[in-house]
């Protein structure tokens, strides 16, 4: 696309523009709140109080954020390669299988610090394998990865329902879930971390996988901007033609990228399964894979942005649950709307405000230059 206007400065491109998009998204969400007869401002105050007002609020906010960091990174890595991995939901769901196998098998035998790395490997591996077939189909047959990953979401859901109501359910139990893992399959909480900051967390399930998520975010930054593979991934994303010309194997890059993406989604399963419930339950992903799309778009596919966006969405999740007590008309489905609006304004309509912003900057820039010119000529006389 040709750019008729001056390039925006970086802070406007990466800070101001996303902020404007976000504000518009929340403005429209506020209209929906008005439509159901509640005050958007009261709702916002309740939400922030619910999310950050107590130690447990913060704990839950960061707990949800952990999920969204993983799924956001999953979407972002694929974005850098020009792929849209919509299958984070299914990859995370299937990844739970890896965590569960390790947790059930070794939870009673080994201590948690030995089970944890094994569970990380297992979940990442299973998630990566679930992304492999869509990746292969994209690279080899050119079938759109969006379509195939959607299909794989449904197939994953069917498999997991089948396993959870059949094979994995303990005898005599009615609920579609596995048995509780042994002590080794349970991750330690992060209450001490919040204590340092002065919050007292009692029942919130924030656990050590939050730190793993931050490590993963850093690792993704390293991978994308500091390694040869990352360079190849970005080249492919910018211009597949240039990548081909440079001798980068399309097949290899697509498959590796999608497997990394799937592995990140699979690791998300650690948080709810080993960190919070200590067993695998039906539908434990609960839409986090899809939230990842909004998080990645909002965070502009940069790990730092993703962590911030994930915390914002964690706040929406936790605060949204709190609002529902006081405003029965607003349930957690409000978050789904906000998620949709963020995807619309930060994703599909991301360029809507760009031309007008560029015009403003151009005018301001010209004004400054003229002023500078006037000063310069004035000084010469």
């Amino acid at each position: 696309m040709s750019q008729p206007f001056a390039k925006l400065p970086a802070w406007a491109d990466y800070g101001l523009l996303p902020l404007i998009n976000l504000i518009v998204a929340f403005f429209v969400a506020g209209l929906v709140v008005l439509l159901v007869g509640e005050s958007p401002i009261d709702a916002a105050v309740l939400m922030i109080k619910g999310a950050f007002g107590s130690g447990d609020g913060v704990g839950y906010t960061l707990y949800y954020a952990t999920n969204f960091i993983f799924t956001g990174l999953c979407v972002a890595v694929a974005f850098h390669c020009g792929l849209f991995n919509i299958g984070g939901e299914g990859q995370a769901y299937i990844g739970g299988l890896g965590v569960t196998m390790v947790g059930l098998g070794l939870g009673n035998v080994l201590p948690w610090w030995l089970v944890f790395p094994l569970a990380i490997i297992a979940s990442a591996l299973v998630g990566a394998l679930w992304a492999l077939i869509p990746a292969w189909l994209q690279a080899k047959r050119g079938s759109h990865v969006v379509i195939t990953t959607i299909m794989f979401n449904f197939i994953a859901a069917s498999i997991m329902v089948y396993l959870l109501v059949g094979v994995l359910k303990p005898l005599g139990s009615q609920a579609p879930e596995t048995r509780v893992f042994g002590d080794g399959g349970q991750l330690p909480g992060l209450g001490w971390l919040l204590n340092i900051v002065g919050f007292n967390m009692r029942s919130a399930p924030l656990n050590i996988s939050f730190l793993l998520a931050l490590v993963a975010a850093f690792a993704v930054w390293l991978l994308i901007w500091r390694t040869k593979l990352g360079y190849e991934i970005r080249t492919m994303g910018f211009s597949p033609k240039a990548a081909r010309y440079a001798g980068i194997s399309e097949l290899r890059i697509i498959i590796i990228t999608m497997m990394i993406s799937g592995a990140l989604a699979g690791m998300m399963a650690l948080n709810p399964i080993m960190g919070a419930q200590h067993r695998m339950q039906l539908d434990f992903v609960a839409g986090a894979g899809f939230v990842g799309i909004a998080v990645a778009l909002m965070g502009r596919s940069h790990p730092a942005g993703i962590v911030l966006a994930a915390i914002l969405f964690g706040m929406l999740y936790q605060g949204g649950a709190e609002i529902a007590f006081d405003m029965p008309n607003i349930s957690r489905d409000m978050i789904v709307i906000i998620q949709g609006l963020v995807i619309l304004f930060a994703g599909a309509l991301e360029h809507m405000f760009r031309p007008s912003l560029q015009r403003i900057f151009q005018r301001v820039g010209r004004g400054k230059r003229e002023a500078a010119a006037a000063v310069a000529t004035g000084g010469g006389q």
Binding site: H144, M334, I337, G340, L341
Partner: protein
């Protein structure tokens, strides 16, 4: 005779179950043939179903419900168009956004307006599309073989069912025998050529998106006011995606789309019927396998075992006029 009745009932529910798929699939066909990918079929259908349920509750008229469904669905379609045609945004991102907005809004508004946990009140028969008995169905009922087929299978559906199947030849005619259809196919393959010929690419694509919205609205109205009696939370349950799969299966052609939708509807009907009934020799097939079968079949097709599905060439790419 016993067998014939069972088979007829199976085919009958196949038709009922494939109608929303068929409508959504044809909707996607108009949009994708013009080069606008539409992941948002699901959301438009869902919003349409909610609008139909709500409007039929208030007015007591199924046709008012249908109108509301079409209007809401077209409005969402125009949002998709605004993002992907006017602002050249990513079409898939925009479709995903529409799905979420529809999924959330229907529940929130449903709860606020009707306080029944996100569903609309149960509709009386007057506010629904009721089965139509075709002329002579009762008289022919006792004629062997043809009688039951006519009575059970062909007669006794709501008007939307007949509309859906009539839309198949109609779409074929529009696509391959009208000027609009020719341009629609051209703009999906080579928009630059259409532009050079002096035809507006955005205007053509906007019209395609509106066609898509209308059909998704009808599909939603069918779900809420013909198949069901009111809107239920998440009532499309992935039908929009199955329709998308059917569209690929049919390689973006209307008649084949009908057969693909009938196939997927048939799988659904069999899955419902087989629950708890073991098949001889194989044993009981898990329901989940039957439910996943449309998706698995699509993957197999995409893997190239059945033949290559080639989408419209300019699909998913925003058109930029050269400066």
């Amino acid at each position: 005779m016993e067998y014939l009745t069972t088979i007829l009932q199976l085919f009958d529910s196949t038709i009922r179950l494939s109608v929303p798929l068929l409508l959504a699939c044809l909707a996607g066909l108009y949009s994708e043939r013009s080069g606008i990918f539409d992941i948002g079929l699901e959301g438009k259908m869902l919003a349409g179903a909610f609008a139909a349920g709500a409007a039929a509750t208030w007015t007591g008229s199924a046709y008012a419900g249908l109108l509301a469904a079409v209007l809401v669905s077209v409005a969402l379609g125009l949002v998709h168009g605004f993002a992907s045609i006017t602002h050249r945004g990513n079409q898939i991102v925009s479709g995903v956004a529409i799905n979420f907005i529809a999924a959330g809004t229907t529940v929130i508004l449903g709860q606020a307006w009707f306080s029944q946990g996100g569903r609309t009140p149960s509709l009386p028969n007057e506010a629904r599309f009721n089965p139509i008995n075709l002329p002579g169905a009762d008289a022919m009922r006792d004629v062997p073989i043809i009688g039951p087929i006519y009575y059970e299978l062909i007669s006794g559906h709501s008007i939307l069912v007949y509309l859906a199947f009539l839309l198949v030849p109609f779409t074929w005619w529009v696509l391959y025998r009208t000027r609009f259809g020719l341009r629609l196919r051209a703009v999906g393959e080579n928009p630059a050529a259409v532009d050079t010929a002096g035809v507006s690419v955005p205007w053509l694509r906007y019209r395609a998106v509106v066609c898509c919205g209308v059909l998704c609205g009808v599909a939603g109205a069918y779900l809420a006011t013909a198949q069901g009696a009111g809107f239920v939370k998440d009532m499309t349950a992935g039908k929009g995606y199955i329709a998308l799969a059917a569209l690929i299966f049919a390689k973006w052609r209307p008649v084949q789309a009908m057969f693909a939708c009938l196939l997927f509807g048939f799988l659904d009907a069999v899955a419902i019927r087989m629950q708890g009934h073991p098949i001889p020799l194989i044993g009981e097939v898990p329901v989940q396998l039957m439910q996943a079968l449309p998706y698995i079949l699509t993957i197999v097709l995409l893997a190239g075992f059945i033949g290559k599905a080639i989408p419209p060439k300019a699909g998913g790419v925003a058109y930029v006029k050269e400066r």
